[in-house]
Symmetry: C2
Subunit: 408 residues, 2 copies
């Protein structure tokens, strides 16, 4: 009898965005003439940049001729892209990453989801709260948790992000083995400074733990004091993996390219306590279960890493950050305290004692603006909403005008 | 302490292609002027077709403008592609597949690798021998096998493909839960007829087993009696999943698009014996761990499914099948019996009592032609070599001329 992986039955249905869609639809039915503005989901809206488009077309022309056609590429990505990543993203920050430590993939979601396969099913996992749900669900599927109870999975350690710690949780008292961190953070927009990241690296080193550092939003950092990479912290290369993506950086959510850096020094352990290269495990996983990213997409991504490409990308992130400023200042002007939105495309709004869904409903009913209730990201998200800066300027401006007139 | 998944340490290093590369390099060093012809690896060599290229370019132009830009798409693939697949690949064969049973992905390798996550770790798995190594290695990683011993993993059931059964193994006597089948077969080029597939479907139904049917090479079938899909067998929709790919069909090995069909009726079981939809499990897996295929790639794939696209694809597969005919007839003319190469791009050559590596060495030394030793695909591959028809015509012709003059 073909028996299912019973751990799947522990998964909660992805209630959040379904419920949002249901409420928006109900609202629209009651208000058929109302134009709804969506600042809920974190998806880019602006076109790929000219340098990227040109490289994309050129690569397709290569695929149109037998002489320049490319079949299977290396599962880890072409050297031209791995080198461009090192040169564009790490060398300028003085971070010593080598091209053979960079693994190109079709998404940071995939990589943060798949990485847990490399580790024992009995390890203890720590996740942020509020959290990007993929970190949690993939460990549930792998059997590293107990049942869902009171809004949390038994067996997971939740790292609580609160106003008191600026939504940047410190290492826990107890020992954990695998730690998910995300900075700039989704959903809170918080960033971690050198001191806090150094605490985490120190914790991981002393506990022989591993940090999974999700830096998908790094392009939005403007404060020169904020580290862009966990590898800016000395010793992190032995205890951390970093995930990055072209999705939010270069507008690649529909184009699909990302990468994961697994340093040669990064070590996990066998049951007998001997060390084992995490890079070798990931390489084996990727070569066995993955066939590399589409060649034209890799050329497009490499163009995004070029000098001209990076100038264009800066324009994209500046645009969304200006949206974030407009949203943040408007919400503050009507008395809501906000975090995020300075070095991140998300504004995390305190509902002033109301529930997440209450403020969500208020903004939908009064202003026709869709946001995301913070409670959907975990228990610590209750009492907050997330507003996304990913939209066209005129819609963002219209949204804040509506909110300001309706609520002030 | 972050402990590794110890099952990874059972994996044998991917000896085969490394060893081939080493021997080819040694040969080239000893014979620097000899031009080697590679008929080893199964990778396409001909350009994407005009219809595909045009759609690919057009989609990139869409991505260049805010008004037509696309961000995140559905994880399961866009409806335009799912509908095109149903209309192009199933409806003409009278097979009743619905678009919402089609899951678009970036590779059949990924899908055949990931699908086992849906099932319990204690199920019994049957794999062909000779075998595409991904079926085996991914189950080793998941802990469904014991150690490697005498060229096989303990705990796996090997379905032996031999000259006696035409390399199309019948169902085993004993009960197994998950069955990997691949037709047209890699590496033997064998195809399964209706009667044999019906036996498998009957076996799966009576044992509550699940068939994973890898049909990546379906485009090469010319015999009208050979089923193109496992779903041509009545009742298969309850007990089978089918994997297909644009890789060999449309020359997408470097472009990356594939799909998996999981019928609504397909059922696995909970520990208590109650049924559970496999489609729902796969949908949950894909939405949690995957972010969909690049939008321009999906447009290119949909173009391949169009009437004009399919005409061009037929031209591609005709070309490689003509290569296969040339190879097959040349090998037979010098006294080697062959299977495959008629409805498949691989020719499986009996080494006439010699070892796989012996015939490999003979062809390399005497003719400068690289093939793949059958023993690399499993114990039953010993005594055979695989010759791939994926190359340019003039190289294939040169290869067979060299082989004929050297060995006849």
């Amino acid at each position: 009898m073909i028996q299912i992986n019973e751990h799947y039955t522990k998964l909660q249905s992805s209630y959040l965005f379904v419920e949002i869609a249901r409420r928006v639809e109900t609202f629209q039915q009651r208000n058929p003439d109302r134009q709804i503005i969506k600042l809920g989901i974190g998806d880019v809206t602006r076109a790929l940049t000219p340098t990227v488009i040109a490289a994309f077309h050129a690569a397709i022309d290569e695929m149109a001729r037998d002489e320049s056609f490319r079949g299977y590429g290396p599962e880890q990505g072409y050297d031209f892209l791995r080198e461009a990543i090192v040169a564009g993203d790490y060398r300028p920050r003085g971070v010593d990453v080598h091209a053979d430590e960079v693994f190109v993939s079709d998404g940071a979601k995939c990589d943060t989801a798949n990485i847990q396969e490399l580790f024992d099913s009995a390890i203890t996992v720590a996740v942020p709260d509020p959290v990007y749900p993929v970190y949690v669900d993939t460990n549930v599927m792998a059997g590293r948790t107990g049942a869902w109870q009171d809004g949390r999975y038994e067996g997971l350690v939740y790292l609580e992000g609160t106003p008191a710690n600026g939504f940047v949780p410190p290492p826990p008292e107890r020992a954990v083995d695998l730690i998910y961190l995300c900075f700039p953070n989704n959903p809170t927009g918080a960033v971690a400074d050198v001191e806090r990241l150094a605490q985490w690296v120190e914790y991981a080193r002393s506990h022989k733990a591993l940090i999974l550092f999700d830096a998908a939003y790094v392009e939005f950092i403007r404060d020169p004091q904020i580290p862009h990479s966990i590898f800016e912290i000395p010793g992190a290369d032995e205890v951390a993996i970093e995930f990055r993506s072209f999705s939010k950086t270069a507008g690649f959510t529909g184009t699909r390219c990302a990468y994961t850096v697994v340093p040669r020094a990064c070590t996990a352990y066998r049951a007998d306590g001997s060390g084992h290269s995490v890079r070798d495990l990931w390489s084996r996983r990727q070569t066995t279960k993955f066939n590399g990213v589409s060649y034209p997409v890799q050329r497009a991504a490499a163009a995004a890493c070029s000098q001209e490409g990076r100038r264009e990308l800066r324009g994209l992130s500046d645009y969304y950050l200006e949206n974030a400023r407009i949203i943040r200042e408007a919400m503050q002007a009507i008395g809501y305290s906000c975090s995020g939105g300075l070095n991140a495309p998300y504004i995390w709004v305190d509902a002033r004692g109301a529930g997440s869904w209450d403020l969500f409903e208020l903004l939908l009913e009064k202003a026709g603006v869709v946001t995301t209730p913070g409670s959907g990201f975990g228990r610590c998200g209750e009492g907050f909403i997330r507003i996304s800066a990913f939209n066209h300027r005129e819609r963002v401006q219209a949204a804040v005008q509506r909110i300001s007139s309706a609520l002030s």
